[in-house]
Amino acid sequence: MKIGFGFSQLKEHIQAANEAIGQAVIGLANMPASLAFIFTSTEFAHPLLLRTAHNLLGEIPILGCSSQGILTNKGIFKYGFAVLLVSLNQQTFFNIASIKDINKDTAFSSGKELANKLLYGFKNVRRSLSIIFSDKLTTEGTSLINGLQENLGRSFPLIGASAADNFTNQKTFQYVNDHLLSGSCSGILFGGKFNFGFGIKHGWFALGKMRCVTGSNSNVIQEIDGEAAVKLYEDYFAKDTLELAKELRRISISYPLGIYLPGEKEYLLRNIISIRDDGSLVTQGDVPQGSKIRLMISTGDSRLEAALAACEEAKRSLGGLKIKFVMVFDSAARLSLLGRQSDIELGVIKEVFGKDTPLIGICTNGEQAPLKSINSLGKTYFRNQSIDILAIGDQ
């Protein structure tokens, strides 16, 4: 496997694509590119730009998305065009696919359909890993994953990211070949000889009494311990609903809800997106009825330790294999909490994998990765506020 990486911040978008792709091609050192991952800021999300990139790359498969932040070895950038070219050997197989027009009712079936498309041609090939990039699907994320796992297999490693926009809550874009998509999910399935390791952590700790979700419907928690769900936050922060609504973003990212998962070291986090008039809490990702939940708290150090643990776990999974590149899906909320020190987390990653190991990533509004405990049977969950590290090893 050979890797070429390029990044540009030129204001003229076509020139930026040219520059970044040029750098990546040089990095491949005359090896033919098999696949391209493209991550850009929203400004670059244009069909013409994708066509240009597709033509420049000789029409190899392209997969990627827009995001409010691009992570590279050189830093985290709010503006730019990043491309990672991968030259794979003949023993590695992959297939890319996408599914459009996902909504609450069709999310599960869309997941199944995407899985089927990805599985095309994999009949006698050992499947290894699937990576997906979905729109900022706040309510449909869990169903989509369930649908995908229905056909890919419940314990099949599925890692993914919901791209974040620049907090304008408008649109995110997915790139598949020369198609610019929105409200969709695109993905890749690797098989054959393909080595990878992953680690996912958040660094939040439970605080206070454990509660029980006594009433919920997918991502809407109606009751906790028989009372309106919002009361939990009202009690803890001594604020009424109106005050909470005003500070919801800050409270939500600093003190998310944590769902207790037996056997797992960390709780599964859920951000609160909004508070309904009846006191229900709308979360980013499903919270099943009967879930044991607690309020979560973190510190800068605990989050950094979590990032370090995720990196080390990914590295350890590869068991000493040379790491060819690292893909990072880092929650936008984490970076927002780090503020001016957002580069610290990137520094931790580079320290573990080495500063010269190619690194590409995006800021996310939701991460998908499997749980590792025996109880969870490797099932992938929709997560919030996590850092997802995927290390790809030499073939």
Partner: protein
């Protein structure tokens, strides 16, 4: 047997009762423990709430502090950028997207009020396309009075803090296509005033007082830089006008100088030709007078002889005057060939002293010189420089009373020698000092009334010194003597 059975049953019942009582006791104890645990749990939950609230306050403070540090850093960078230009339009171009993003905004506009056109004109546009910007400009000018009031009163507005009487918050949001915003007036001392607008579409962002303070500082910075730019332009324009005036005056002066030179040349030519014309008959007059005085043409009565002697003496004076005039004229027109060479100053002075020794002796005037060792050599034309010394020492001799003193001092610096001819004479009145080197000027005093002179001696001296690229000046105080100083290049 029955009693045994009864006793046994009683014992069993009693032991069961004891056991039951003991279990009840244990259950009670367990219940108490559970209650205690629950109480502890509730207490811990209350503590957790306290921790959460404290943590939130700390986080808020940290966030605000981070925002302030980052904002201050950005403002400092922006100030440096803005201060690099003194061109009004360039000031706004220095405000870049990256600075705006660092302050937490992605859209910005700046408008200045054009009082002549009676409308707001855009000077900055970030994060808007042409169509959006045009729509905003139209909407703004349709509501210009509200914004003019804001500028007039020097008040800021934001999506969090709206002043009374200003447009509704939602109207501003719709007009500028943002969710949160700040508007700060740009209050310049002179010229067009306006406002800067920053905004974000981020629905989760909220404007703090700190944000408003930052944008207010930025607006002030822009105002000051605009004032500086305008002041600079004003000064620059004045300077341009001044330069034009100076150029015009210089041209006029050059023209006048040329005219003066022409007139002066004509005068010199005239004096030169007149002097030449005078010299020929004068020579004849002097010659004939001399012949007559020899008596070769017969003896003459004493009265005629006296008259002839007067003719001869006056002819000498006239010849002297004509010669001086001719010399001045020649030097002015550059017709004199100067043979500049390194001369020993002491030798020159000694020669002059020797020439004037009789007169010095007659008036019992002490004559001395004080020449620093390093000033022994001068670069000069021997003949001309001797005339300078003869004139200056001769004048000193003339105006110094009996038993007086005349000294010649020489000092040098930077290869220039300054020679001072110092006398203990009557001195020269202050008002006469500035005219003393002018042609035919004679100080009005008793000595001059008694002793005849042409009034050309010092003019000639000045011309000779200047022909040596030197300068000459006088310092004098009535009754305390005079010092005539002149400079020459040092010899090798």
């Amino acid at each position: 047997m029955l009693s045994f059975i009864f006793i046994s049953i009683c014992l069993i019942v009693a032991s069961l009762g004891i056991s039951l009582l003991s279990k009840i006791q244990r259950l009670k104890e367990a219940g108490d423990k559970i209650k205690t645990l629950n109480l502890s749990l509730e207490e811990m939950d209350e503590q957790a709430k306290l921790i959460m609230r404290t943590d939130m306050e700390l986080n808020k403070a940290q966030e605000e502090l981070d925002k302030k540090i980052s904002g201050l850093d950005t403002l400092q960078k922006l100030s440096q950028e803005i201060n690099t230009t003194l061109e009004e339009k360039q000031i706004f171009k220095k405000i870049d997207n990256k600075y705006l993003e660092e302050l937490g905004f992605e859209r910005s506009l700046a408008f200045l009020w054009k009082s002549l056109e009676r409308e707001f004109r855009p000077y900055l546009r970030l994060g808007y396309n042409d169509e959006e910007a045009a729509k905003i400009e139209t909407a703004l000018n349709a509501n210009k009075d509200y914004f003019l009031d804001l500028i007039q009163n020097g008040i800021s507005a934001s999506s969090e803090f709206m002043p009374e009487g200003f447009l509704a918050k939602d109207k501003i949001r719709r007009m500028f296509l943002v969710h949160s915003f700040i508007i700060c007036p740009v209050l310049t001392q002179e010229g067009d005033r306006g406002f800067i607008f920053v905004g974000t579409q981020n629905t989760e962002a909220s404007i703090t007082k700190g944000d408003q303070e930052f944008i207010s500082i930025l607006a002030n910075q822009i105002s000051q830089t605009l004032d500086n730019a305008r002041l600079f332009e004003k000064i620059w324009k004045s300077q341009q006008e001044l330069e034009i005036k100076v150029e015009e005056r210089t041209r006029q002066l050059t023209q006048a100088l040329e005219e003066v030179k022409t007139i002066s040349k004509r005068k010199s030519d005239f004096i030169s030709s007149v002097s030449h014309e005078l010299r020929t008959p004068l020579t004849s007059i002097k010659g004939y007078a001399a012949i007559l005085l020899t008596g070769k043409l017969g003896t003459m009565p004493d009265e005629i002889k006296n008259r002839l002697e007067k003719i001869n003496r006056h002819s000498d004076e006239l010849v002297h005057m004509v010669n001086d005039l001719l010399d001045i004229s020649r030097i002015e027109s550059g017709k004199v060939d100067m043979k500049i060479e390194s001369l020993d100053l002491k030798t020159v002075i000694e020669k002059v002293a020797d020439l004037l020794s009789e007169q010095l002796k007659t008036k019992n005037i002490s004559f001395g010189s004080n020449i620093v060792d390093s000033c022994q050599k001068i670069m000069a034309d021997r003949g001309q420089i001797e005339r300078v010394f003869i004139n200056l020492v001769g004048n000193a001799l003339k105006f110094t009373p009996q038993n007086g003193k005349i000294n010649i001092n020489a000092n040098c610096a930077n290869k220039i020698i300054q020679i001072d001819v110092v006398d203990s004479g009557f001195g020269i009145p202050q008002e006469a000092q500035e005219h003393i080197f002018e042609e035919f000027y004679r100080v009005d005093n008793t000595i001059n009334q008694q002793v005849k002179g042409t009034g050309l001696g010092l003019t000639l001296v000045k011309h000779i010194v200047e022909a040596h690229q030197g300068k000459i000046w006088v310092k004098s105080k009535l009754g305390e003597g005079s010092t005539f100083s002149f400079t020459l290049k040092a010899g090798e």
